[in-house]
Amino acid sequence: MGIFAKIKNALKKTKDAIAYRLNKLFTGGVLNDDFYDELEMILLSADIGSETTESILDELKTQIDKKHVKKSAEVRILLKEIMHDILDFELPKEEYPLVILIAGVNGVGKTTTIGKLANNYKKAGKSVTIVAGDTFRAAASDQLTVWADRAGVRIVKQGEGSDAAAVVYDALQSAKSKNTQVTLIDTAGRLHNKVNLMEELKKIDRIIDREFPEAMRLNYIVLDATTGQNALSQVDLFNEAIDIDGIILTKLDGTAKGGVVLGIAGEQEVPVVYVGVGEGIDDLEKFDIDDFVSGIVDAE
């Protein structure tokens, strides 16, 4: 058998077996090396990353010793607690007027998320303005306009190629004069290692502070759950540029588990706030730690 066929086979087996193994793992068995190897595999396959996986397992072992845990079923509970603790943050209470700046790398779901958020706030009885701050990508503002219509909120936009900072400036004046409670700002997707694009984002961030100081500010980074360890770097550099208040984790309706946020929460103390679970306007949910952890640790 060639190496490709072999890997393919192994993968299929892994996938078929994972639910079975998870259950077996937590229902019987001794806490030996094999047990920890299996656990490690489960965490790694969720994109938790080798470093964070190792520290989670270390903590687990410590607690197992301390609490004299013998049964693997109890280990499942312990493991969930440890992961829960890492992800548990207190979120600030929202006040109005509120300006939410949405940033992230290309294609993660920023524009779609703005549509969903606009819908949420509108339903909650708030007045909403969305701002087409992506003046770079082809047809970006057309796309956002469709979402504004779907949510039934107003949109401020200018032509493609205009200066994003200028669009934001104008939009803020208009939002203020209309007493908008929630202003949602879309931005062009940008890779975090592009210095000039990150400077542009910083500028937008400063303009909001300067032009709308009375508003509460929230800066969210949108992460694609399919992303691997690079998400750490994304949060790191976006945070350095514009102080990130939270993460919106999209595309959790796929098969990726988004486990990289554990490393992010642990190292960079940035909480997950919402999750995206589809392309529809209602497919945005508040982040539920237990659901999320269960998605990784429990067999389906």
Binding site: N106, V195, S233
Partner: protein, 438 residues
């Protein structure tokens, strides 16, 4: 993360106690394999693929004699690197051309992977090669997706075929007819992003495939994808039997382990990479560069080879001595530029250096040849003392220099910063006895 961080450093540590004693011993191999495993996992290679890979490598490492001129660390890196290159396909794969035109290229992939942008890039590339491509809009779901393709098409001067939100298979069929009747030799079909587990949408792609029998079905994957890349690629490949893969967003600082995972589970070649947002930002895939990138060591292997060709022994010795005496000056920097040029241009070399795509912040604009010309002008406008002691170049000197060289203060600052970074790098090399530090 420093310039030479990554696997190289770690392996150096593992092998630091080892002096060349014939064969690599088992304990050390085990330690090294641990580091390699972590490096691959941190690069997002799927853990199953890693497992297989590691067992293959250990076998090979066991039998290996240590070549006298390299450290055991280098030796292991080389083995790993070679195997990675082999696994990823030793040479780059070309696009197939249909013997009965038009050649039909169908794009597919998850949401947000970069299909639409890539359609424009591929189209522009083929146009440059003398082809006449037609772009076809079959994303009927995402708001303004058709608009986006139209703008993309307009920007690169290509016609876009669209029939609104009618069934993609029908649009594709009509597009091929249109192409045949109007002298288009290539048809590039953009499709909506979809989840591999969405059965209805996957069936839609199967229908398009059935109707137009594409010459190429290219799975477009975001290079930042994590462990799930195997599931995605396996499913798309099972349902569509894709002919190749395109990796996008490689201009980021991702290590791109997904490339290895996908190749391993599908066996299909990676044909192109997206390396920016502009229509020209497309490259053919180089398995060897990807291997180095995944290992986190830049393309150190070819860099070493090229360096050996470009610099003669004498020059290296001289440079080494100056580094050793901590005497590396802007004059030496200038000499370096010249040899870099011999090695195939600055940008090529910079791309090969570890960390350059990553946290070491280089803009594309920092590495173009024009900038190097500027640097040369700046250095030539300096006094001998300034060239030997760049730290004395403060604000008034800077103003004089930029006036003299017709550059800006930013250019001068940039040069000094880059010089400093290079000198640090040289110091590291010095600590490693003149060898490249990996």
């Amino acid at each position: 993360m420093g310039v030479f961080s990554g696997l190289g450093d770690k392996l150096k540590h593992v092998f630091s106690k080892l002096t060349a004693r014939g064969k690599l011993d088992e304990y050390e191999i085990k330690q090294a394999m641990r580091e390699i495993r972590i490096a691959l996992l941190e690069a997002d290679v799927n853990f199953t693929v890693v497992k297989d890979f590691i067992s293959k490598i250990s076998e090979r490492a066991k039998g290996e004699e240590i070549v006298k001129s390299v450290t055991p660390g280098q030796q292991v890196v080389k083995i790993v690197h070679d195997e990675l290159v082999e696994l990823m396909g030793s040479k780059n794969a070309k696009l197939a051309v249909s013997s009965k035109p038009p050649t039909i290229i169908m794009m597919c992939g998850l949401q947000g992977a970069g299909k639409t942008t890539m359609c424009g890039k591929l189209g522009a590339l083929l146009k440059k090669q003398g082809k006449k491509p037609l772009l076809v809009a079959c994303d009927i779901y995402r708001p303004a997706a058709i608009n986006q393709l139209q703008v993309v098409g307009k920007n690169v001067g290509l016609e876009v075929f669209e029939k609104g939100t009618q069934k993609p298979a029908k649009t594709a069929e009509q597009a091929v007819k249109h192409a045949t009747n109007n002298g288009f030799d290539t048809v590039i079909i953009d499709t909506a992003g979809r989840l591999h587990i969405n059965d209805d949408l996957m069936r839609e792609l199967e229908e398009v495939k059935k109707v137009v029998s594409p010459t190429e079905i290219l799975l477009t994957v975001d290079a930042m994808t994590g462990q799930d890349a195997v599931t995605v690629a396996t499913t798309f490949n099972q349902r569509l039997d894709v002919t190749g893969v395109i990796l996008t967003k490689l201009d980021g600082d991702t290590r791109g382990g997904a490339a290895l995972s996908i190749k391993a589970v599908t066996g299909k070649p990676i044909k192109f990479c997206g390396v920016g947002e502009k229509s020209g930002d497309i490259e053919v895939f180089h398995p060897d560069r990807m291997a180095s990138r995944i290992l986190g060591m830049g393309d150190i292997v070819s860099l070493v080879e090229k360096a050996q060709e470009a610099m003669d022994e004498e020059a290296i010795k001289k440079m080494e001595k100056r580094v050793k005496d901590a005497n590396f000056t802007l004059d030496d920097f200038l000499v370096q530029f010249e040899s870099l040029k011999k090695m195939g241009g600055i940008s090529e070399v910079m791309q090969m250096l570890p960390g350059m795509g990553g946290r070491f912040k280089f803009n594309e604009k920092d590495i173009d040849e024009k900038r190097i010309e500027k640097f040369k002008a700046i250095i030539c406008s300096m006094t001998k003392k300034e060239r030997e002691h760049p730290e004395i170049v403060k604000s008034s000197r800077r103003r004089r220099i930029c006036a003299g060289s017709g550059t800006t203060i930013q250019d001068v600052n940039q040069l000094l910063k880059q010089f400093e970074q290079t000198r640090d790098m040289m110091k590291k090399m010095k600590n490693n006895k003149g060898r490249l530090p990996f």
